[in-house]
């Protein structure tokens, strides 16, 4: 368990220091690279939380696509070294952010959460989550000491089942949104008259 703690704190320090750098560093190109660091650290958090598929998606889409798009966009800034200047709202923005942070941390720490461990579901839910992608392997489930009834309740879940089953309507809506965004981005970047 101590190894998990060490990795968690290392990732937390990386993510938060990187995020502070993104909003503080004057050089926009460095801000974009720091943003990619934050994305990788968040991917590490997903691995720690048994969300391996999401970690792969995070690296592919955020680091592979979005960070590269940002670096393209940075070329449009005339003065890249000094491009990340603050505006007049700096102090009110800091006050609002700190107030919101205080409220959220207070809520997170003082709420009495009903956790999986408290409900005795920790092992089963971990198995269900690590089987988020791939074919459920019933023999592995039996080996982990579950009864046959519990195996039935765990096997056959998976991210794909949820995406195509229960969440199929938002899934289709989001694919339509992506298509519209791609066409809209093309139309905006192409300009009128050409």
């Amino acid at each position: 368990m101590w190894f998990e703690q060490v990795v968690f704190w290392a990732l937390a320090v990386t993510a938060i220091a990187g995020a502070v750098g993104v909003v503080m560093v004057r050089d926009l190109f460095r801000a974009a690279l720091l943003l990619a660091t934050v994305f990788v650290a968040v991917g590490g958090f997903y691995v720690l939380m048994n969300a391996e598929f999401l970690a792969v998606v995070q690296i592919l889409i955020y680091v592979g696509a979005i960070a590269v798009l940002f670096i393209f966009g940075v070329m449009l800034t005339r003065d890249v070294q000094q491009g990340n200047a603050p505006n007049r709202l700096q102090i009110p923005a800091a006050v609002v952010s700190v107030l919101l942070l205080t409220a959220m941390v207070f809520t997170a720490v003082t709420t009495d959460w009903t956790t999986l461990a408290g409900a005795g579901l920790e092992t089963k839910s971990q198995i269900a989550q690590t089987q988020a992608v791939g074919i459920p392997d019933a023999s592995r489930l039996v080996d982990s000491g579950l009864s046959a009834q519990e195996v039935d309740s765990v096997a056959g879940g998976g991210l794909a089942d949820l995406l195509i089953g229960q969440f199929v309507l938002p899934f289709e809506a989001v694919s339509l949104l992506l298509l519209a965004a791609a066409i809209g981005g093309l139309a905006l970047a192409r300009g009128r008259g050409r």
Partner: protein, 109 residues
């Protein structure tokens, strides 16, 4: 590592992103800050799915993946937002010759 510590990290990421989105002048820097906020929200969703046991989870265990499904949708929406946002950046650069948001406040074309 616990639910609380993960929620605190996510809240810190979100608030840093909020500060950046409100206080930066460069359009691209504002978009970067919005991505930080998205990442904070995604961390919260996955952490809730990983540690919390609402009634839905006790009924069917596949419900523990709901948080991850939401995060997948948010990542898709973030990708769409960046595609459109950079299109707007290009259009703004063509008309204004800069991507400074204080220049864009004049609303001339």
């Amino acid at each position: 590592m616990s639910l609380e510590s993960m929620l605190v990290v996510a809240a810190v990421l979100f608030c840093i992103g909020l500060y950046g989105a409100l206080a930066r002048r460069n359009f691209i820097a504002v978009l970067m800050s919005i991505e930080l906020m998205f990442n904070g929200v995604n961390l919260t969703l996955v952490a809730m799915g990983r540690w919390l046991a609402p009634y839905a989870v006790q009924e069917t265990l596949s419900a523990v993946l709901t948080g991850q499904v939401f995060a997948v949708f948010i990542i898709t929406v973030a990708a769409a937002e960046i595609a459109l946002g950079l299109g707007i950046v290009f259009a703004m650069f063509r008309t204004n010759e800069s991507v400074d948001l204080t220049d864009a406040a004049a609303m001339r074309h």
